[in-house]
Amino acid sequence: MTFEVETGSRKRVVQITGGAGKYQAVVDGSAYVLDVARAGENWSLLMGPVRAGSPASLSVRAGRSYEVTVGVQLGGELSVFVNRRALAVRLDALSTDLDRRRIARRAGGRGDHTADTRSGPLDVTAPMPGRIVRVLVKAGDVVAARQGVVVVEAMKMENELRSPRAGTVKEVRVGQGALVEAKTVLVVIE
């Protein structure tokens, strides 16, 4: 089965075959032997070959050892831990041995975070879950760039959210004392 996997800024084509804990992976044309076993919530992944000595004449083989956890999906990404370091991974199936049809790439799945680069109204959103301590503006107010508009408290720290640019307050969507989730739109500036 073949997948296209994106980590960091790079894409890799990964082909997997095998089963029962023993797999072969071909990554961008290079082949690896994988030995995978579950250990509690993690996997122990041993990857060969290790190039050292003259393995052919030896009675045993060494593999590079990784502790891997494939975590929950966050915003379309898989969170994979490799040796206790988190990496964000996006994954697509290119084709499978079950089904040779090419599956179209994900469509329209990436546009989520583009709102604040639009040239129209700008949203001031809550960066984290928290409580609205104070609303410093009302609809119609003229605000300067970096002027405080709302104060949000989370974990005992107050954070003043500022207007991203000069403009007029179009809408205030929250009131003092409200509990808000992350990414809730609080104020719209135009």
């Binding site: 029962a20 995978v36 929950v72 089904d99 599956i103 984290m128 720290m157 107050e158």
Partner: protein, 499 residues
């Protein structure tokens, strides 16, 4: 010490570890601190309901509140801390400055009296002009960076005053503030003290807490890499003199700023146990909490002065927060889905975090204090690096990746930092993540993700139970609030293979 314990808890802390480990537990109200952990009346009632003899206030909430200490006394309970009078005196930053001056210890220039809660901003602005920019707004009742704001130009003064007053009011119930000159590239050096009711005051080897982010200590170590034995003798004597002059009788800490010429200035006194007390315990072997309890019972200090002042080796603490360092250290509350904590030689982890536990949005996001000891500073740093490498938290973001990066910085290794160092360092960053995975790690992550999809999609059940990667439950949990966008999941649905 063989003492029975009573825990108090707000609603969201019902199943917290301190509740489960206590002999008794007592609900004191809803999540908002003002309705539970800051309710003096309920805390006193909790002590009476459970038959407690004494109250240890910890190092947050009411730990530096003189009214609480007085309420304990009035109710016939032992407050494990200094007297209400000591708290009131040293808790007022402006009175504390006066006490230090009276004891012959220099202070940082600033306003000598606090401003009234309703003082006009123009009056504060005039005082600010006299002291000069950059300056700090500080809460009179403050501590831990709460209610503190750096102001570099007159234009920012008004908004900073507002934020500081509000934060101080929320955190301490007191919006009073004062101003203080900001020294150039100072180091934060502090002296732990123990006092007893018999007039003894014992200073400990200094701690260095110059690695701060927005005035919050991030890494502490002891001894300071730049304090000579002569300076140690000088600064610890000064600290003891201040404490003695006010009859201080518990654990407390006097904070100093050390300038580039080696002059030190009294900054403030914390009339409580500090977050960073474990590193002092590590290099002296003295159990500070036990000592607090003993002196609160009226016993004499039983620690030799040379033991307290002579560090054995070196200790470092990292404050691990539920914050996302790659998103401007934004709080990252939520459920911890996986946790593995490093252990082994010379590592100490003081934590209430557990797998399955929820980090609430209501309180300080400190989830663990990780400490390491070594025979010298390089060894302590090396052990801390190893411990950070083994630390794994899943479900929420933490500052562990930041610390792994931080401990690799040349200036950290050379100990050439000051209290503004970290903020400057962070400002130079161009938004790159704190951990850049190696080519090797990226490749393994790619293979692991592909493997999971492969085993999930394989209709032939050629996967042994041992190696089977069960992730469907996670995927299902996800789905409820976030549509799956990934190609292979769509594929799986198309082919009808999903359970």
């Amino acid at each position: 010490m063989g003492l029975a314990s009573v825990a108090v808890y707000s609603d969201c802390d019902r199943t917290a570890r301190h509740v489960r480990m206590a002999d008794q537990a007592c609900a004191i109200g809803p999540n908002a601190p003002a309705e539970s952990y800051l309710r003096i009346d309920r805390l006193i009632d909790a002590a009476l309901a459970s038959g407690a003899d004494a109250i240890h206030p910890g190092y947050g909430f009411l730990a530096e509140n003189d009214a609480f200490a007085a309420a304990c006394r009035d109710a016939g309970l032992t407050f494990i801390g200094p007297s209400p009078e000591s708290i009131a005196l040293m808790g007022s930053k402006t009175k504390a400055r006066r006490a230090a001056l009276d004891a012959g210890v220099p202070v940082v220039p600033g306003t000598d009296e606090p401003f009234a809660a309703d003082e006009r901003e123009s009056v504060i602005a005039s005082a600010a002009e006299r002291i000069g920019y950059p300056l700090l707004i500080k809460a009179v009742a403050g501590g831990g960076g709460k209610g503190m704001r750096l102001v570099t130009a007159p234009d920012d003064l008004s908004s900073a005053i507002r934020a500081a007053r509000s934060e101080a009011n929320t955190a301490f119930g007191d919006p009073a503030i004062y101003l203080e000159r900001r020294l150039v590239r100072p180091r934060h050096i502090e002296v732990q003290l123990l006092g007893d009711l018999h007039g003894n005051v014992l200073p400990f080897v200094e701690r260095e807490c110059s690695i701060q982010r927005r005035h919050q200590k991030v890494i502490e170590e002891t001894p300071s890499p730049v304090v000579s034995p002569a300076l140690r003798a000088h600064i610890t004597s000064a600290a003891a003199a201040v404490a003695r002059s006010v009859g201080y009788a518990s654990a407390g800490t006097i904070e100093f700023l050390l300038d580039e010429e080696g002059r030190f200035f009294f900054l403030e006194m914390n009339t409580r146990l500090q977050v960073e007390h474990p590193i002092t315990e590590m290099v002296t072997g003295v159990d500070l909490v036990r000592a607090q309890i003993r002196v609160a019972r009226g016993e004499r200090l039983d620690v030799d002065p040379p033991t307290a002042l002579t560090p054995i080796g070196h200790a470092i603490e990292c404050r691990i927060y539920a914050e996302d360092p790659d998103a401007g250290f934004m709080p990252s509350p939520g459920r911890i889905t996986g946790l593995r904590v490093p252990g082994g030689p010379w590592i100490r982890d003081d934590s209430g975090a557990e797998s399955g536990a929820e980090v609430p949005i209501f309180y300080d996001p400190l989830i663990s204090k990780l400490s390491a000891w070594g025979g010298d500073r390089p060894q302590a740093v090396a052990r801390m690096r190893r411990a950070l490498d083994e630390y794994e938290v899943r479900g929420i973001r933490t500052t562990v990746p930041f610390f792994r990066w931080m401990l690799q910085q040349a200036a950290f290794e050379a100990a050439t930092f000051h209290t503004g160092y970290l903020d400057e360092l962070l400002q130079q960053r161009q938004g790159e993540p704190f951990e850049i995975p190696s080519e090797d790690e990226e490749q393994v992550a790619a293979m692991a993700a592909a493997l999971q999809a492969f085993t999930a999609l394989s209709s032939t059940s050629s996967v042994t139970p041992n190696a089977r990667m069960e992730t469907w439950r996670d995927a299902r949990v996800q789905q409820s609030n976030q549509p799956a966008k990934m190609g292979w999941k769509r594929l799986a649905r198309l082919e009808g293979l999903r359970p």
